[in-house]
């Protein structure tokens, strides 16, 4: 379906002068304030989403540099390029960066950017909250790297096991930095999740009933629900740890000598930690579904089954955490129960793979870079899934626990399952960011080199693990025989660096000088492709009325659109949860500097908590005034956010009223 149909339709019913007048009004209504204050106070979900993705890629680069340093250190036996203390800081910061500062935020960022567009609305439900989430994430990330630069980076692993991270062994403020970074970034994740859930449930374009929601949107909603259940566990755990460590609080939650329980830390951490893997992976499956559908040029095979697999994975993801604790003294019966769920989680994932293969099998391929990355994803992720089944087995896991086999497994799952689809998604959606296409030849070179480099780094780690090389050692003796495989892995890391450099150079070059993209260069089916590239701040001149699951492919010249929204206020149509029937007009708040102020107070409160418990009550008082300012000045001209449709109904054409549902 041509993406110009919507504008044709509009031009049939409205004069060009009126369209231009409306566009000017929308531009003015939805634009940010000028200057640095405007930049800091934006509520445009596209700007916030892009900042989140960009910042996450910056952290990805820093985390990658740390990985490169580790590979340099391990390339030779007995190497002293890095000392043990620096190595501990580096592997802890690498893991924490990739999990907390890259993988989760980048998926959220993509959701913040594309979910509203895909469901045919102009904004997230809580735009000010959205920018608050970004700043708390940024401050959390800066805190972690600030520590590393001052040689006081956390050094107890990304999971900060007690007692190593407790007051007895965790020296200085290292673990406290990690702990507060966790709190800040998880606040950000919770904010993004709340926003995405409410937006998808209440702001979908009319006609987008539950059975028509794009799979990427489903993936973001399901992930958001997971975040809401998973993140509080780690926030509570890190807060309890902070209280254990704070000398003038000195609780003993994890201190066995005083009746605490160190195993409780592992339960709390892994109750978050394993779902975290799916929090990263499920949005990537949404990206895979979108890319495969577009580049197979056919409707997705097994839509219902794909939604089921995401829901099932999300649930089961919460029932496998004990497999990280198989070598702790837990009852074997309990461990066997978790073996069952850890093995059965491959069922929904397997169904997913077959649905995608069927879509590819039945489609007509358009073999561009995004699809090539997805083919790489299949190769890598399936391998990671298979070693996951191996590790779900209690006896095998007992042998392989804390060896490089586990390192190989989770990198196959996380890089294969998330980074390959993410790169594919960046190549796919890049035109929407800047109006230009990424270079295709450089993209293919990036993909092939990244795949080869990845296999060189991580395949040998399976063998290293099987022959006994433990994780988290800064060096090893020549007699162990691990040197050759480690050297091979380090060469692979260099290849991955080259591949990633090609990507960054391509991105910078294409941003300014790349081939100009049409609105829908790939012939895709979702609503964001009906918009010009780059997308105006108001996004849709008229919110569309959705005709089918593949919205653009099923749009016709006489498809209805939503009219009747005030163009001088930031308004969108709110619809019912199940069938997306128009319900009321929803006015959203405009830009404000207060989210930035609140995030600064929040950051100061958490950083202060590393030194004194008084920072909490003082911070809360300051936050009270921050929120007072937030809600005091409302740029929606003090209108109530709820406006019943009866005042000015949402019609396609006021002269020819029919309910939107009937029009569909």
């Amino acid at each position: 379906m041509k993406n110009t149909d919507l504008s044709k339709k509009q031009s049939n019913t409205l004069t060009e002068a009126r369209i231009n007048e409306e566009l000017r009004a929308l531009e003015s209504t939805w634009s940010d304030k000028p200057g640095i204050i405007g930049w800091l106070s934006t509520t445009d979900h596209k700007r916030v989403g892009f900042r989140m993705v960009f910042t996450a890629f910056c952290f990805f680069t820093f985390g990658g540099i740390l990985a490169g340093l580790m590979r340099l250190q391990l390339s030779l036996p007995g190497n002293n390029f890095l000392g043990p203390d620096m190595y501990n800081q580096i592997f802890t910061t690498h893991g924490s960066t990739m999990m907390f500062l890259f993988a989760v935020p980048v998926m959220e960022g993509m959701g913040i950017y594309f979910v509203p567009l895909m469901i045919g609305t102009r904004t997230l439900a809580f735009p000010r909250l959205n920018i608050l989430g970004y700043y708390t994430y940024l401050f959390g990330g800066l805190l972690l790297f600030f520590g590393l630069l001052l040689n006081i980076g956390p050094d107890a692993g990304w999971f900060a096991y007690v007692p190593l991270s407790g007051p007895e062994y965790g020296i200085g403020k290292r673990v406290d930095l990690w702990s507060q970074m966790v709190s800040l970034t998880e606040i950000s994740a919770l904010i993004a999740s709340t926003n995405i859930i409410v937006t998808v449930m209440k702001l979908r374009a009319p006609g987008m009933s539950l059975n028509r929601i794009p799979l990427f949107v489903w993936s973001e909603v399901i992930t958001a629900v997971m975040v809401i259940f998973a993140m509080p566990a780690v926030m509570i755990a890190s807060s309890l740890l902070s209280m254990d460590r704070l000398t003038n609080v000195s609780t003993h939650f994890f201190n066995q000598a005083e009746g605490g329980d160190p195993i409780m830390w592992q339960h709390l951490f892994w109750f978050f930690g394993h779902p975290e893997v799916y929090i990263i992976f499920i949005p990537a499956t949404g990206m895979v579904s979108m890319i495969i559908t577009t580049f197979s040029r056919r409707k997705t095979f097994g839509y219902t089954a794909l939604v089921l697999t995401m829901v099932a994975t999300a649930f089961i993801g919460f029932g496998v955490w004990v497999h990280h604790m198989f070598v702790t003294p837990l009852p074997q019966l309990g461990q066997s129960i978790f073996t069952a769920s850890s093995m059965l989680i491959v069922v929904p994932n397997g169904v997913q793979i077959f649905c995608w293969l069927a879509t590819l099998w039945l489609g007509r391929w358009n073999l561009k870079t995004p699809l090539i990355f997805i083919l790489g994803f299949f190769g890598v992720f399936v391998m990671g899934g298979l070693t996951g089944v191996m590790l779900a087995s209690l006896p095998l896991d007992t042998q392989l626990h804390d060896t490089y086999f586990v390192v190989a497994h989770f990198h196959y799952v996380l890089i294969g399952g998330a980074v390959f689809p993410l790169f594919g998604a960046v190549y796919y959606w890049f035109p929407k960011f800047c109006g230009r296409l990424l270079n295709e030849a450089a993209g293919i070179a990036h993909c092939i080199l990244f795949f080869i480099g990845f296999e060189l780094v991580f395949f040998p780690m399976h063998i290293l693990g099987l022959i006994g090389m433990p994780r988290r050692v800064y060096t090893y003796l020549p007699e162990t025989g691990w040197g050759d495989l480690n050297m091979l892995a380090s060469i692979g890391a260099a290849v991955m660096v080259v591949a990633t450099l090609i990507f960054f150079i391509n991105a910078v070059y294409s941003w300014f000088w790349g081939k100009v993209a049409a609105a829908n260069p790939w012939g895709a089916d979702t609503l964001e492709w009906s918009l010009p590239s780059p997308i105006p701040q108001y996004a849709f001149q008229y919110q569309p009325v959705v005709q089918g699951r593949h919205a653009l492919w099923e749009q016709t010249a006489d498809s209805p659109v939503v009219t009747g929204l005030h163009i001088n206020n930031r308004e969108v149509v709110s619809t019912s949860i199940h069938d997306a029937v128009p319900d009321h007009r929803y006015g959203v708040q405009g830009p404000s500097i207060m989210p930035f102020v609140v995030s600064v107070i929040t950051g100061a409160m958490f950083i202060g908590f590393m030194f004194t418990p008084w920072s909490l009550p003082l911070g809360m008082i300051a936050l009270f005034f921050g929120f007072l300012g937030w809600f005091w000045s409302n740029s929606v001209e003090h209108r109530p956010p709820y406006a019943p449709l009866e005042d000015n109904p949402v019609y396609d054409d006021p002269a020819d009223y029919k309910p939107v549902e009937a029009a569909v």
């Binding site: 009933s209 059975n211 019966l333 066997s336 089918g548």
Partner: protein
Amino acid sequence: MSDERRDLELEKPESELLLWAGFLLPPLAWSISLETLYLFSDYGCTYESFLPNHIVSVAFLVLSLIGLAVAWSNWQKSGATWPDDSSGSIPRSRFMSALGLLTGALFSILIFAQWLPTLLGVPCGK
């Protein structure tokens, strides 16, 4: 039943509640059974008494199957055909009930699989 009557029937709040029940009851039953089984595993291994585990497994398996039955009933009410992407409460109900059927089957198997270690009789072989 005509489509119009079925449409009206499926738009009632109680029908929507049943759709969510059919969809969510099996995974919720599994989640609670997992936590409860884990809670009892220490007791079972200490006192070599696994009756609580059997009771929990059976009870939540039944609950999950009830969810499956509700989804089946919803699916029948919405026309008993595989969901497509047309609009309205009937296709949407088919979609949600089909999801319920699939989750019901999967999570019932999962509850049974987690009962197996106790059923096979070697649960504390340290």
